[in-house]
């Protein structure tokens, strides 16, 4: 697709880059007027990403590996940067990785936000980021063979299940405690976590000194199945199942990526409907998190009340999509269900009810003294650390950075209406909670505004053809922040490569900094304020740095202590 040069947003950033690093850019290719991919010399990779990141208001969205040996003879790694300065656009920095050495310079030492992305490329493609400070496994399970890299095109069939190489978790946790420590393991499952993960906190008495965690217990291999078993439209429904809470955001991000790659003009009405559904999803998710904040500080009445009100958002979803969760509403080129007059009227009625109910609950939440005392000044995420690690969503907005994909890179129907970015400077749990509470009302406003402004016309276009090896980004603002997908079409009616990055992926790396300096009883509410796809940690190992001993405490016990604040599990 040819993008006319006068339409291009971000061209001046590239010319500034060329001024500083004259010979770094080998190739420049525009996917949409606001999306460009530049291929750079490996030796200039660090400088290019660093310059874009720190001097042009760039944020790392995702790092994508791709096995392009059958196309160009090399592997490639794409660093996706969301440019949020005066020229808002996406710049994708592509570096080619030779098929023989399989090495490329790691960017993590200069831009820490790349750490998870590069660790993942190591796991899935076996490429070696030279200089990567943390070379532990990230995505693949501990019982996976060392030399098998699932996303290499020639490594394995998507159904191949190698025999387990270990029965125990072998992940090395970074433990800064000095001297001998004893660890008592407690099962990595518990009552309130929706999903499994594994945390270790390093504490001095009651104070958290450091933390480390192991995620990806639920890695299933979605990207591989999308590239091998499914067609383009099937993947929209697979994307719905990336996350049970914000699945529709993923589905929109995926369809947008294909639509961007192929230059499909999606009817405006379909785009407006997508935005209405995204806001519905945001409401149920934020109400869920507000409820959980109540739960973690021991205000269970609030928790039950928020869940009661949240059911109205679920009713709304059912009314508009036919299901409470996993909406299955997208196709490439549009949506599968219209909003007729009758449903629009009912939506307005339910949303008016929701507004009154939520307002009452938010007032109660903020006026309850116990809550204020537990969230104010707790779990600080320093503004500069937030800048270095590119977290997204209410987390980064609670630390004074006003970044919201809906406003920065208006997608779906957000171009039709006015978007407000909510940000607070508190950097604490309270700030993040306030952002979420305010956004619930913004969602209600947006739904009303979109129902008013949604233009007529079709909701689906079938006027396009699939072309091979076209790629682009698609993005949405999910309840937890930006979801970003990078898709490349294949030549067999299947994706050549699909990289799907959920918002929480960008948020985990900063958790360690938020936990530091707080007390043990604050840990659940801090982790909850991240609003991870599960709200808590499944097992926590406390390492007392001063006493030089460690003890693992079941998370129920930590949560109980978080609520009651007596009988410390560490004594």
């Amino acid at each position: 697709m040819d993008i006319l040069s006068q339409d291009r947003v971000g061209a001046s950033i590239l010319s500034a880059l060329r001024g500083v690093l004259p010979h770094a850019i080998l190739q420049e290719e525009w996917q949409t007027p606001r999306q460009v991919t530049i291929t750079v010399k490996p030796s200039a990779l660090q400088d290019v990403v660093k310059t874009l990141y720190y001097e042009h208001y760039g944020w790392v969205s995702v790092v994508v590996g791709n096995d392009e040996r059958s196309l160009t003879g090399v592997f490639a790694v794409y660093y996706v940067l969301s440019m949020e300065g005066p020229e808002k656009c996406h710049i994708v920095v592509r570096v080619e990785v030779p098929a023989d050495t399989q090495e490329f310079p790691s960017v993590t030492p200069v831009v820490p936000a790349c750490v998870w992305g590069e660790r993942e490329v190591r796991d899935m493609f076996g490429l070696k980021p030279v200089g990567l400070p943390d070379e532990r496994r990230l995505v693949l399970p501990d019982d996976w063979p060392d030399d098998l890299h699932p996303l290499r095109k020639d490594s394995m069939d998507y159904r191949m299940r190698p025999a387990p190489v270990a029965d125990n978790e072998t992940y090395p946790f970074i433990n800064e405690a000095k001297g001998e420590t004893t660890i008592v393991p407690v099962g990595p499952l518990h009552i309130t976590s929706d999903e499994p993960g594994h945390f270790r906190l390093f504490v001095d008495g009651e104070d958290i000194i450091d933390a480390d965690y192991r995620m990806f217990y639920v890695h299933r291999g979605m990207e591989k199945v999308a590239e091998s078993r499914m067609g383009y439209n099937e993947v929209t429904f697979l994307a719905d199942r990336v996350c049970g809470i914000c699945g529709y955001a993923h589905s929109v991000a995926y369809t947008t990526s294909i639509e961007n790659a192929l230059g499909i003009n999606v009817p405006a009405r379909a785009q407006a409907i997508r935005s209405i559904l995204l806001e519905t999803e945001r409401m149920h998710s934020h109400l869920l998190n507000l409820g959980l904040v109540c739960h973690y500080v021991g205000f269970d009445t609030g928790f039950q009340q928020f869940f009661r009100v949240r059911e109205k958002a679920m009713t709304l979803a059912e009314l508009l999509t036919g299901s409470r969760k996993t909406y299955a509403m997208n196709l490439i080129g549009g949506v599968r269900r219209d909003i007729l007059g009758e449903q629009a009227a009912e939506t307005r009625r339910v949303s008016a009810e929701l507004r009154v109910d939520t307002q009452r609950l938010v007032d109660i939440l903020l006026e309850t003294a116990n809550v204020g005392g537990r969230v104010n000044g707790v779990g600080l995420l320093d503004k500069q650390i937030a800048r270095d690690y590119s977290p997204v969503g209410p987390l980064v907005r609670g630390s004074g950075h006003a970044r919201d994909t809906r406003a920065d890179h208006a997608f779906a129907g957000y171009g039709l209406v006015k978007n407000t970015i909510r940000s607070h400077d508190g950097c604490d749990v309270l700030a993040r909670t306030l952002v979420r509470a305010e956004e619930v009302f913004d969602s209600l406003d947006l739904i009303d505004a979109l129902l008013d402004t949604a233009p007529g016309g079709a909701i689906l276009t079938e006027d396009f053809e699939y072309l091979p090896h076209k790629f682009a980004l698609g993005f949405t603002e999910a309840p937890r922040g930006e979801d970003i997908h990078w898709s490349m079409t294949g030549d067999n009616q299947k994706l050549y490569r699909w990289r799907c990055r959920a918002s929480t992926y960008n948020n985990w790396p900063v958790l360690r900094y938020m936990l530091r300096g707080n007390t043990v009883s604050d840990a659940p509410v801090i982790v909850g304020s991240l609003d991870p796809c599960y709200s808590c940690t499944d097992r926590v190992t406390f390492v007392d740095v001063r006493k030089q001993k460690s003890v693992t405490v079941p998370i129920e016990e930590v949560e109980r202590y978080g609520r009651e604040r007596k009988n410390s599990p560490l004594k």
């Binding site: 299940r161 639920v218 299933r220 291999g221 199942r241 869920l288 219209d338």
Partner: protein, 260 residues
């Protein structure tokens, strides 16, 4: 690279757990007649959170499963029922087995959601083992993606014997000479397809179908009023402007077809 593969040769089985006969007998009694409230422990083995959040919804005020004595407990050691969700991922194999071993016998295992029941959309992927029953013996399946809170409570009611499962099977046997009736035989097939497609583009699968049917009914009406007049009447009486817009689009499809 893309050579045909025999999937059977790729699969390693994780090896299922077996139940001793004595415990199986105790379990049968428990399943048949539990007669008390049941404690449930949730084991997420790789769900997307959809199931988990619907379980949450089931135990909060609007649905409130606790009124049936179903209570979620924080440890498998307290549990009568283990509720497995999600396609069994590799990383969760050992934790899932440990949870199973920790629960006292006889225990009921419920497999929840499409992924738990069969592995769902992830059934044959490299990093999963398929459904719950690939690893531990399952007694009750609650299907759905995700099951709604109502389906969840129904599933538990079945598991606890509060409710006999109502399965309504109906088999149609074709009578001699019986033929399925054609839909709208008086409307030319090409036109019908064009109208249905346009209705789908305008209003989607579900509502588009309904609207197309309404439109066909107007076309097929036996009446002296000419078709455009009947449509004008329909549009005039229709309160929803969006539906009026869609009807107009369908009319223009008919007009284009007549010209061609």
């Amino acid at each position: 690279m893309n050579a045909p593969v025999n999937a059977q040769t790729l699969l390693t089985s994780p090896g299922a757990v077996s139940i001793p006969a004595q415990i199986a007998a105790m379990k049968a009694t428990l399943l048949k007649d539990i007669q008390r409230s049941a404690y449930v422990y949730r084991v997420d083995c790789g769900g997307c959170n959809g199931c988990e959040i619907e379980i949450f919804a089931s135990i909060t005020p609007v649905f409130d499963a606790e009124r049936f004595g179903i209570k979620v407990v924080p440890s498998p050691r307290h549990a009568d029922i283990l509720l497995y969700t999600g396609a069994m991922t590799r990383a969760m194999r050992m934790p899932a087995l440990r949870a199973y071993e920790a629960a006292p016998d006889p225990k009921i295992v419920v497999s929840y959601g499409a992924c738990g029941c069969t592995g769902g959309i992830f059934h044959d992927l490299y990093c999963t083992w398929g459904g719950t029953d690939q690893l531990v013996p399952v007694d009750v399946y609650i299907p759905g993606c995700p099951p709604t809170p109502a389906a969840t409570i129904y599933g538990f009611a079945v598991a606890l014997g509060l409710l006999g499962q109502k399965l309504k099977a109906e088999t149609h046997i074709e009578a001699p000479g019986e033929a399925a009736p054609l839909a709208h035989p008086d409307i030319p097939y090409v036109l019908r397809v064009a109208i249905e497609r346009e209705a789908r583009r305008m209003a989607g699968y579900r509502q588009g179908r309904d609207i197309a049917e309404e439109f066909f009914a107007v076309i097929e009406q036996q009446s002296d009023t000419p078709f455009p007049m009947r449509m004008a009447q329909l549009r005039a009486t229709e309160p929803d402007p969006r539906r009026v817009e869609i009807f107009s689009r369908l009319e223009s499809v008919v007009a284009e077809a007549l010209q061609a």
